[in-house]
């Protein structure tokens, strides 16, 4: 607990050391993926419902903030706060779409969520009121880029802390126990008075709230959003991989997974040719899934406890 507080304080003070903007941006992205993976984990790792279209909520949050800023001519502070309604919008849509979708299991749920992301993506591309295929421009803060980035850095860090804190709470509370029961055997969970449908919808809604907020802040960070950017399929898949890589069902897993995979991806892309980097990235997936199929956390936990005969 003390260690994590210490790490967080250091990270929070990071921009004050005037590092090159690249590192501020890099950590921004790391925080964002940690938040995304941790909140995805609520429905994916704990409940076992792998949503392969989670980027839809990210994009919805981005567009919600963008549209609110344009429509109401919000000031910078208000725009940052508008990420909260953006997150709520995403959560509401998750509830609406969750009712039909959460009835499906396993791979079918994965496919329908995957489709949902595409449907939203194509839907927005066809609506010219929201910018359509030309995207949406946001007004940037009238401050030097270093300061803008640092402010958003702190905000994203706050979102990440809340997302991870929620994940920690889930892993220890009745809510999380209920989700785990659903993952193990949904029918049996029903027999011990666990209201599976309600829990699933709640989990899905919360798991959409944080990505919605993150999307809103990301929109402000980029000052330009376009469906191809904020509804990118790769983001969906990366989120799933980060959470599962680190270990679904634990709060620390997605954190580790997001940090490691983002940094590895960045490092590889910087030093190695792009295609080669992706090949190594792919090999990494294969190695990890072969030797650590339940994620890193499980692997280390098994090593710690010697087998009892």
């Amino acid at each position: 607990m003390v260690v994590s507080l210490g790490v967080l304080t250091v990270l929070a003070l990071f921009p004050w050391f005037h590092p090159p903007i690249y590192f501020v941006s890099l950590l921004f992205v790391v925080f964002m993926y940690v938040a995304l993976a941790s909140s995805w984990n609520i429905i994916g790792g704990f409940a076992g419902y792998l949503s392969f279209g989670h980027v839809a909520f990210f994009g919805i949050g981005a567009y919600a903030t963008g549209l609110m800023m344009k429509g109401f001519h919000l000031s910078p502070a208000a725009t940052i706060l508008s990420s909260i309604p953006a997150g709520i919008t995403a959560a509401v849509i998750a509830v609406i779409i969750g009712y039909p979708c959460l009835r499906l299991r396993g791979p079918y749920f994965a496919v329908i969520t995957f489709c949902f992301a595409f449907v939203v993506d194509l839907g927005i591309k066809n609506l010219d009121i929201v910018g359509g295929p030309e995207g949406l421009w946001l007004k940037s803060m009238n401050l030097p880029i270093g300061i803008t980035r640092s402010i958003l850095f702190e905000v994203m860090m706050a979102i990440m802390v809340f997302a991870v804190a929620f994940a920690v709470w889930t892993s220890r509370a009745k809510f999380g126990a209920g989700l785990r029961a659903i993952k193990e055997d949904e029918e049996v969970a029903g027999t011990i008075c666990i209201n599976a449908p309600r829990l699933k919808i709640k989990a899905f809604a919360v798991s959409a709230f944080f990505p919605g907020m993150a999307g809103g802040i990301y929109a402000y960070y980029l000052t330009y959003i376009h469906p191809d950017i904020v509804f990118d399929v790769n983001i969906s898949i990366l989120i799933v991989l980060m959470a599962l890589f680190g270990g679904g069902g634990t709060w620390l897993g997605p954190v580790l997974g997001a940090v490691i995979l983002t940094l590895v991806n960045e490092g590889l892309s910087t030093f190695v040719r792009a295609e080669l980097a992706r090949i190594i990235y792919g090999c990494l997936f294969i190695v990890i899934i072969t030797f650590m199929p339940n994620g890193i956390m499980e692997f280390f936990r098994r090593r710690e406890k010697p087998e009892k005969t």
Partner: protein, 291 residues
Amino acid sequence: MNTTLVLQSLISGIMMGSVYALLGVGFSLTWGVMKVINIAHATFGLLGAYLAYTLLKYWGLDPILSLSVTVPALFICACFAYRVLISPIMRSKDVVVSSMILTFGMAIILENLMLLIWSPDPRLMTTSYTSKVLVIGPLYFQYPKLAGFLMSAAGILIIYLFLKKTYTGKAVRAAWQQPDAAQLYGVNLGRISMITFGLAVSSAGAGGIAMAFLYSFEPHTHNLWLIYLFLVVIVGGVGNVLGTAAGGLIIGVITGLSMAFLPYQWVNLLTFGLLMIILIIKPQGLFKGEV
């Protein structure tokens, strides 16, 4: 409503659909028999297309003739991939999820290998009969599309006969229906899985070549094919060869007709929306499950 237009788009839809069907059959088989969702299925198909393209461009070998090279080559690749990469994860708790992640890694590797070897430029297979058209009444049948269609129909027929008539094929079906009982009858699940995978991937290669007869392709095209694969397999029913074939035709026809009457951007929206609706109403597929 122009009847010629409707008929023409129907024909184009059927031709497109048959290719989806051939691609989908292998995908459906791996999912049904091995519980492996092969995200790299379309990528292997693309590899087949690139192989055929290279053989055509540098050795002048017609893609249909080069099938005798590409299909066995892919079969061997697949068996190798199965031995080395896939069989370890078959023992894991949740094969479906692990296989998705593993094959996703494979897909990334293959896609970037293709990017390195063939560059991101779109490729088109131009054979001696590319511009020839068969005209029957007011309808046009382009030779390459006909070739793709015939190839797909033949491929699906071969797979169907293999599964229904040959001993190995029956073993595959047994492994799909009741793996434990099949083992009691002496079916070596490991070997059957490898053969199924090899069959699926080589049919994917043939499907990719058939697709290349219709459209141009570049290393990222497999993503689009994959979406259609999911659609076809879910409509047709996982593991069900004839169902998947029918599903492919249905999807092809719907896409073909919608391309003629809807603005371009709405066609894809229709496809995905359709998949969502089908999943909500009837996720087991429109056909009864039986290989």
